[in-house]
Symmetry: C2
Subunit: 182 residues, 2 copies
């Protein structure tokens, strides 16, 4: 038998654990249970252990960010449509009843030294793409950068508030509000 679960599928199963518990909080026991495998089997797929698992999860999240959120910003549609599709992508990227930001959780504690640079790269790409759309919508370059930064702040802040309130409402509210911002 070749593989009951692909590496990507495995990463998908591990994602919610890292998202909810952070790098240090995601114990091998929790990860094994989420994967439906033993700890030893996890090492068969990720020879370098937890670091490898988190890296795979982060790579998967980066790919999803790229396709769901950033790619729509570069499409040929009108700026308003591009922003709308990208925000739809955000809603799909952060799914679930209590959405959590992997980027946020993974940067608590030890994870910051390990994955900080990767996360920073993804965020920078997102911010730049957003600024491009706002500029295409007619804003001066400096104002477009400011608006892009504000958009990121509001999305990430809303995700924090989602965890505080234990609800999806803050994210949905922020997205609705942001859609009207252009």
């Amino acid at each position: 038998m070749k593989a009951q679960l692909s590496k990507a599928g495995l990463a998908d199963r591990l994602t919610p654990v890292f998202e909810a518990y952070g790098y240090e909080g995601a114990s091998l026991s929790l990860l094994a249970k989420a994967a439906g495998l033993s700890k030893a089997s996890l090492y068969h797929h990720f020879p370098n252990g937890k670091r490898d698992m988190a890296a795979a999860v982060l790579a998967r999240a980066g790919a999803r960010l790229q396709t769901l959120v950033i790619a729509p910003l570069h499409s040929t549609a009108s700026p308003v449509e591009r922003l709308g599709q990208s925000l739809d992508g955000v809603a799909r990227l952060y799914e679930g009843d209590i959405p959590g930001s992997l980027m946020n959780s993974l940067l608590v504690g030890e994870g910051r030294g390990l994955f900080g640079a990767i996360v920073a790269g993804g965020v920078a790409a997102w911010e730049q793409a957003l600024a491009g759309v706002y500029e295409a919508a007619g804003k001066p370059a400096a104002a477009a950068r400011d608006t892009a930064r504000q958009t990121l702040e509001r999305i990430e802040g809303a995700l924090v508030l989602c965890r505080v309130e234990g609800s999806r409402a803050p994210l949905e509210g922020a997205l609705t509000s942001l859609r009207g911002g252009l």
Copy 2:
């Protein structure tokens, strides 16, 4: 010797550890080193261990939030001045080269179940006080609530970006921008 360090002073020393590492990541070794005490001595001050320490740190942070950020919102000054003083308080509350949100770090993993309700209470009080100022500034009640929510999102989001970028700049930028929002 009665006490080389008061409980509040001790909590202040423990704060950066919880802030940077979260609840699970903050090990007793790290906490003891930060306090300048042995693990056994920490248990003298906090009989219930890590839970007590985190609770003390959180209580201290709540008190600082109250005096630095929320109290100014309730003063007799003009709405614009009240907001300005409160944002100054935010800058002082989140000090340091790479400011971190204790509320955010502490809600990753196990901490959410332990302290989620306390944090949610503090945030709700902050949001309500903000909405009061925006309403006093002439906004309709619904719009005031929306603006208050947005302000919180931007501050918390900026703190996330501070950790991503390893810099204090996002917070300062957001505060400057928010000051101009009234």
